[in-house]
């Protein structure tokens, strides 16, 4: 299979991107400024992210659609208002996460944003669970661009007036160059921001106009450090088929109204709600400057293995190494002393609260 390019590929090259393959697409890992500068620019001004590799699945048709989707997703879709979004999961029968996703109610159905590496499989799974009764369109004629940071609303408002009135986790239709664009207020960085679904042919001029208004292109490298500081999960690292939303500490995304109802994986989840879980996702802060990356083994003070790190890096805004991972539930309390095995040495660390970086909308607040 040949590697795919997004509609912004020429722009990535123009702005000096280092390109890598990610989920079958040629994507920018960083531009000329490098990951740390890109990360900090997003936190202090605004960054543009090409996320066109992600799936945009539109589902429509039929009065029972909401009911049938609730048999798949543990979200309260009946209560969802048009243009409102919710974070949810596609699970397997064991309650393991096949993908984490954002569902938005549209005027004629739902839009689901899927992870790039999961999207084709998700499409098949959802289609078969819906018994082919509805119209599913994994629309590959649209680009998806995220604009994140404290200045995002001002920059975007200059290019598409009116979008600053959107509320968090809400979307709406807007017009750009006489074409319809769909914008949601959401993101993956811990900053205020937007995701813009736009025709491929308009994507490049749209991004150039964001750049003219002060934003900069940001690569996947900084996207990863930003989401880690914000305590957000990356599918494939922090979430997988063998991990449930309860274990992932994402219980908040499953509304109480749905716990007693049926959906894929509901029995396992109900049981975990009642009896608790063996492992739990936690934030980890190493005492020293040593970075513990994914798959680093975690030990207790008796040298017994109690878990493993799933994501870890240096946090450019908190200026300290940060990590998250899964530990035996009895070690999940904040301030529990743990040890990380890095290059044969046991590095002391503490369980800590997530996120590492918390935005308070007036100024950034650091939580480490």
């Amino acid at each position: 299979m040949s590697i795919k390019k997004t509609s912004l590929n020429n722009l990535h090259i123009k702005y000096g991107a280092k390109l890598v393959e990610f989920a079958g697409y040629q994507m920018p890992i960083q531009y000329k400024d490098g990951i740390i500068q890109e990360h900090k620019y997003t936190r202090s001004h605004s960054g543009i992210f090409d996320v066109s590799h992600m799936g945009q699945l539109f589902i429509s048709g039929g009065d029972d659609l909401t009911n049938d989707l609730e048999k798949i997703f543990p979200a309260d879709l009946k209560k969802l208002k048009t243009n409102q979004s919710k974070y949810s999961f596609l699970m397997n029968n064991k309650g393991g996460i096949q993908d984490d996703l954002i569902i938005t109610k549209t005027s004629d159905g739902f839009l689901i944003i899927l992870n790039a590496a999961c999207k084709y499989n998700d499409y098949e799974v959802i289609k078969s669970k819906l018994d082919n009764q509805y119209k599913l369109n994994l629309d590959e004629s649209l680009s998806l661009i995220a604009l994140q940071g404290p200045e995002a609303k001002n920059v975007l408002n200059k290019v598409i007036p009116g979008c600053d009135s959107l509320k968090f986790m809400n979307g709406n239709n807007y017009v750009y160059k006489n074409e319809k664009v769909y914008i949601t207020r959401s993101g993956y960085t811990g900053e205020d921001g937007f995701e813009i679904s736009i025709k491929h042919s308009d994507a490049e001029t749209f991004v150039e106009s964001l750049i003219e208004n002060g934003s900069k292109l940001i690569g996947l490298g900084a996207r990863d450090t930003l989401r880690m500081e914000a305590g957000l999960c990356l599918y494939g690292n922090d979430l997988d088929n063998d991990t449930s939303p309860i274990e992932a500490n994402l219980k908040w995304a499953i509304p109480k109204s749905r716990i007693e109802t049926e959906f894929v994986g509901s029995e396992v989840l109900k049981n975990q709600f009642q009896s608790g879980v063996k492992k739990l996702r936690v934030g980890i802060k190493p005492d020293s400057k040593v970075i513990a990356r994914g798959n680093t083994k975690i030990y207790n003070d008796k040298n017994q293995e109690i878990g493993k790190v799933t994501s870890g890096t240096f946090g450019p805004s908190v200026e300290h190494p940060i990590a998250m991972g899964y530990v035996d539930n009895s070690y999940s309390t904040v301030n529990t002393k743990i040890f990380l095995e890095v290059r044969g040495k046991k590095i002391p660390a503490n369980i800590c609260n997530l996120p590492f970086y918390k935005k308070n909308y007036v100024k950034g607040e650091i939580n480490v």
């Binding site: 490098g34 970075i291 240096f314």
Partner: protein, 126 residues
């Protein structure tokens, strides 16, 4: 006059009498990206040619630092441990990694000259 040579692992090495200073090349720092962590060998320890003698980590990944020659570690550069970003700023001068008392000067012979290294770096990154 001191002699500077280069290894295939992207270290530079400067010989000055019995003493060598070792660091990583500018080309290496460009490939690594922003460096956020450095670990150096212990003073007084002995390191062997082509063995691991430190670690650098960028935001993306960890990489070993090798020593191109054998010897005893006589000094390490605390500045780069305290502020690893100095390695990106001045890799081939002030941000050196460690100094060795060289064991066998003939180990320098197989290393590359500046011209040879530049050609090697260009070919391997293409």
């Amino acid at each position: 006059m001191s002699e500077v040579k280069y290894s295939k692992e992207h270290e530079w090495i400067k010989l000055d009498g019995e003493e060598v200073t070792i660091g990583i090349t500018k080309h290496a720092t460009e490939m690594l990206g922003d460096i956020v962590f450095a670990e150096l060998p212990e003073k007084g320890s002995n390191v062997d040619k082509d063995g691991t003698a430190g670690v650098v980590e960028s935001t993306k990944a960890a990489s070993d630092v090798y020593t191109p020659v054998s010897g005893e570690v006589i000094d390490t550069n605390q500045m780069i441990v305290d502020d690893p970003s100095k390695i990106n700023e001045d890799p081939e001068e002030s941000a050196w990694f460690f100094k060795l008392k060289i064991k066998d000067k003939s180990e320098m012979d197989s290393l590359m000259s500046k011209e040879e290294y530049e050609k090697f770096a260009k070919e391997t990154s293409a």
